[in-house]
């Protein structure tokens, strides 16, 4: 049978063409064509094997409806010529499939990429947020200028001071991460990322609830009723969007909470420094008062602070005031706040995340691509116009009016760009889907970016204008009587200047993008070569927060030891251990504590803090962290044996410069336990926060001597054995069936996640660069081959006069290379000027990295030579005699 797609396509064609048919007969006309197509398709199904040919036959016949419709339209309208022109142009384009195909491809790519980028910009920065007066909502962050970690969640002590002293806000609120174990009937016990919010939170985010209500004042009081608001995502995923959910109870941890509401869809706050596995809290709770210890916490924070600017206050003024407050606090508390400043970030910028920072580059790249695409199409049309000079001359001689010829060229440009625009919108949709798939972890709302209608219209109009201008230029020039006379005389008046410049511009744009992509790629390579200090392959990580059920130190120890025993019995497991702060972990608690080294003065304040980590089982072996000297801590280090620690090499180098730390005594205090420990070993240093961050000076305490319940199981499998995550979870449930997991993942996934932002910008810039390179190559090829064709006679004459193959080759390739060279030089100059803007995204590569620049230049030269090769071969095949006869 005829494949269904052929009939579908044929019917679609006929239906579109039907719009041309005069309205009076349209119904019958369509009925006739549809009946014939259905008949033939059914007929073929009965009698013949389906072939590509019979399918195409059906479509070809459907295309015949166009002349039919055009004929009918001519019978009844005065505007017959326009229809005739359209039909004529379609016929001409079908005769030049290469030209039409390339032009459409180029237009579709240019329009598609640019539209996609404009749509992203629109969604992130133009479209209103789902909150009332969203422009006034600010997020506040804590920046420690000493650590260089950038924006961090705010320590409660700082937040409370800021909130008390700031006058620029008319409402301030905090949200605090709070993980809870949720027990939903019929599901595995599940650990949810939740948030506790203070009483003005819902006043700031005046967002409509999907169901129910926000918290009432009583629920914010210490000891008040336990109420929970579900996120829209959680409500849909776990309760199938049950509308009767409000008022029912949900067990969280050991308590029953009443569900009082469901957040509206799209309430995506991206809080807490992206430490949740999900982009938003799954449940919202009321923060019932500030804990007594919280005002004293001024180190690394865990609060999100939001403020709504008072009417008429600018972001700059708010920032200035918070700067003043930070300076006051630095004077008042030099020990903790000397380097801490508050940063005010508009909510919208916060939600755009990393995407907001790279968007200007992507928009610039898209604009370059659109320019190149327009230049390419313009060149194609110019070349085609010149090549058709003879046709125009003949038609004018036969009486065609100048306006008619111009109109026909106009129709051609319009038709091409309209079709290109239609395809381009499809391309834009595809690009947006790819971006949603690559979802940069820290950008909200990229899941479903709609194509922005205004942006698409602007982009299409630009492309249309370029095509029309390029189509009209030769039309106006060629139809001038003087030119026609010249052509009739057999002379060739070809102006190569404009196409040449366009190609040089294309090459320059390609150079700029290739340099950008090259720098990013080299950075990415460099960063992947960074040794994290452990071997991430074949390692699974299961993060658990122990509940109150394990309420004593002994119970906690027993839980972890028994779970480790059971995990070791899983086939394929070679080493298993636990750690309090997993490198690259989600939601790891970084604990920095003052460390006193015996015989040395205590370093006060921030500078004296050292990362302190609890390790249990065979953690170092499971991670593949090497022992440098001394011994590792193990199960023999218990509460009753002498207290010991191991230190990382970085700690040994920075804390004991020029001395041997082994045997040295240190004092610290961790989770209520005082340490007076001896350093017994040095292990390799580990990068925790990212491959582009320095390794940590770190002190490790054995879990047998610590009292800590938030640990991550680290399980190394035999090489090549995929970690059986479910089996590992079941071993833990064998010890405590109610235990939940914060995140289960492999170390490789976690590391890959840390590179997501870089990978995202690399893929996009690389994609743009590749496409632009292809277009530039097509441009060089087009201009060279066109001018070669024009110069056939010249080559013939030269050959007849004794020019050798080498000379001709030199002429053709020389022309191509001159254009490419001009473009490369201009492009490199531009890239040198622009590349420093990429600085933030580079790693271990200078913005003017000579290797990248040279490689890009050589690469483009090679591409240009390759693009000249085919026309050069053609020129060499010129037979002098034929060429001279050629007219």
């Amino acid at each position: 049978m005829t494949p269904r797609w052929a009939l579908w396509l044929a019917l679609r064609v006929v239906r579109i063409v039907a719009m041309l048919v005069p309205a009076a007969g349209r119904g019958e006309w369509l009925q006739e064509w549809e009946a014939e197509l259905v008949y033939q398709s059914a007929h073929l199904r009965d009698r013949r094997q389906p072939t590509w040919r019979t399918s195409m036959d059906l479509v070809t016949r459907a295309l015949g409806a166009l002349p039919d419709a055009a004929w009918l339209r001519r019978q009844c309208t005065l505007d017959a010529e326009a229809v005739h022109d359209t039909v004529h142009v379609v016929r001409l384009l079908r005769k030049a499939p290469a030209f039409a195909g390339i032009a459409l491809f180029v237009l579709a790519l240019g329009i598609g990429a640019t539209t996609a980028m404009v749509s992203i910009a629109d969604t992130l920065f133009m479209r209103p947020l789902p909150f009332a007066d969203a422009g006034r909502i600010m997020t506040l962050w804590q920046v420690n200028r000493a650590t260089g970690l950038g924006r961090e969640d705010v320590a409660p002590g700082n937040a409370l001071d800021w909130m008390a002293r700031a006058r620029v806000f008319d409402a301030v609120a905090i949200a605090e991460p709070r993980t809870v174990d949720a027990y939903v009937e019929g599901r595995e016990p599940e650990l949810l990322g939740g948030a506790r919010v203070s009483d003005r939170f819902f006043a700031i985010f005046a967002a409509p609830m999907a169901l129910g209500r926000a918290f009432v004042p009583a629920e914010y009081q210490p000891g008040g009723p336990r109420a929970v608001i579900l996120s829209h995502r959680f409500w849909t995923a776990r309760f199938a969007a049950d509308a009767g959910i409000v008022g029912t109870a949900l067990r969280l941890d050991a308590d029953a909470f009443t569900i009082v509401g469901v957040m509206g869809a799209g309430f995506e706050l991206r809080p807490f420094d992206n430490r949740f596995p999900e982009p938003e809290p799954m449940v919202w709770l009321a923060k019932q008062g500030v804990q007594p210890f919280e005002p004293t916490l001024r180190g690394r924070g865990y609060w999100n602070v939001f403020g709504r600017l008072a009417p008429g206050v600018s972001v700059a003024r708010a920032q200035a005031e918070l700067g003043t407050i930070s300076a006051q606090l630095a004077r008042e508390r030099p020990g903790t706040n000397a380097n801490v400043v508050a940063e005010v970030v508009p909510l919208r910028d916060h939600l755009a995340g990393g995407l907001g920072a790279i968007l200007p580059f992507l928009l610039a790249a898209a604009a370059l691509l659109l320019t190149v695409a327009c230049a390419n199409v313009a060149n194609l049309l110019l070349a085609r116009g010149v090549a058709r000079a003879r046709e125009f001359a003949v038609r004018q001689a036969l009486g065609a009016s100048r306006s008619r010829l111009i109109r026909q060229l106009l129709v051609e440009s319009l038709l091409l760009s309209a079709a290109g625009a239609a395809l381009g919108l499809g391309v834009a949709g595809g690009i947006l889907r790819v971006i949603a798939g690559l979802r940069p972890i820290d950008a909200a709302r990229v899941d479903a970016i709609p194509i922005d209608a205004r942006g698409a219209v602007i982009v299409c109009v630009v492309a249309l204008a370029a095509a029309v201008a390029a189509g009209l230029a030769p039309a106006l020039q060629l139809t001038r009587p003087a030119v026609i006379a010249a052509l009739r005389a057999g002379g060739r008046s070809v102006r190569r200047g404009v196409p040449g410049l366009l190609v040089a511009a294309e090459v320059a744009a390609a150079v700029v993008l290739a340099v950008g992509a090259g720098l990013l790629m080299r950075s990415f390579q460099r960063i992947q070569q960074v040794n994290p200090g452990f071997r991430p392959a074949d390692v699974a990580a299961l993060q658990v927060f122990l509940s109150d059920r394990q309420d004593t130190r002994e119970k906690r120890l027993a839980f972890f030891q028994e779970a480790l025993e059971r995990i070791r019995s899983v086939p394929g497991v070679t080493d298993a251990g636990t750690v309090s702060t997993l490198p690259f972990g989600l939601g790891s608690l970084d604990i920095r504590l003052p460390l006193a080294i015996a015989g040395r003065p205590v370093v006060p304040g921030d500078a004296g803090l050292v990362y302190t980590t609890v390790v249990g089982g065979d953690y170092f072996r499971a991670m593949g962290i090497p022992l440098v000297r001394g011994r590792l801590v193990d199960v023999t280090d218990t509460a009753s044996s002498p207290q010991v620690v191991v230190v990382s090499r970085r700690a040994a180098e920075t804390l004991w410069p020029g001395a041997d730390p082994i045997g040295s005594k240190v004092r610290t205090r961790f989770a209520g336990v005082a340490y007076d420990a001896e350093v017994v070993g040095i292990v390799g240093e580990v990068r925790h926060d990212g491959l582009d961050r320095p390794a940590r000076a770190e002190v490790f305490i054995p879990s047998g001597q610590a009292n800590f319940g938030m640990m991550t199981f680290v399980v190394r499998m035999a090489p090549g054995v995929a970690p059986p995550v479910q089996a590992l979870k079941e071993r833990v449930w064998a010890v405590d069936p109610l235990q939940t997991f914060y995140a289960t993942s492999t170390l490789e996934q976690l590391m890959s996640r840390s590179l997501m932002g870089r990978r995202f910008i690399l893929v996009l810039m690389g994609g743009f660069a590749l496409v632009t390179l292809a277009l530039a190559a097509a441009g060089v090829y087009g201009v060279t081959s066109f001018s070669t064709a024009q110069r056939t006679r010249e080559f013939g004459v030269r050959m007849a006069l004794g020019a050798g193959r080498r000379d001709i080759l030199g002429l053709v390739v020389g022309e191509g290379l001159r254009l490419a060279g001009l473009g490369i030089v201009a492009g490199l100059a531009l890239a040198l000027a622009l590349a420093p803007m990429l600085h933030r995204f580079l790693f271990d590569v200078g913005a003017t990295d000579p290797v990248t620049l040279v490689l890009v230049a050589i690469g483009l030269l090679l591409i240009a030579v390759a693009a000249c090769y085919v026309p050069a071969r053609r020129a060499l095949r010129v037979q002098p005699v034929e060429a001279l006869r050629f007219d």
Partner: protein
């Protein structure tokens, strides 16, 4: 009406008993974009009449009703004139006749 070669072929097919647009395409091997405007022109000149087939037939075959074309008396006359003017290769003329029995088989 302009008696082109293509028009003559279409008249041949009609006189051989082909009635439907796509059957005429099969018989003449002309593209649809040529045949349909010819049919429209012949219809306008009164050389063919067009009509819809019985809906019952179409329904029995589970497809939409097709439109058919018949030569009028004037059409027959023009066809005679055309036949003398263009000598259509025998193979083309007989193609329509040959196709018919095969199709009904």
């Amino acid at each position: 009406v302009k008696l082109t070669y293509a028009t003559t072929l279409v008249l041949h097919a009609l006189s051989a008993g082909e009635r439907h647009g796509f059957d005429i395409l099969d018989a003449t091997d002309l593209p649809s974009g040529t045949v349909y405007p010819i049919l429209r022109r012949l219809e306008r000149e009164g050389l063919v009449v067009a009509n819809w087939e019985d809906v019952a037939i179409a329904r029995a075959e589970q497809r939409p009703a097709r439109r058919y074309y018949l030569l009028t008396a004037a059409g027959e006359g023009v066809f005679e004139a055309a036949r003398t003017r263009f000598r259509v290769p025998r193979a083309v003329v007989s193609k329509a006749r040959r196709l018919r029995p095969q199709e009904s088989s």
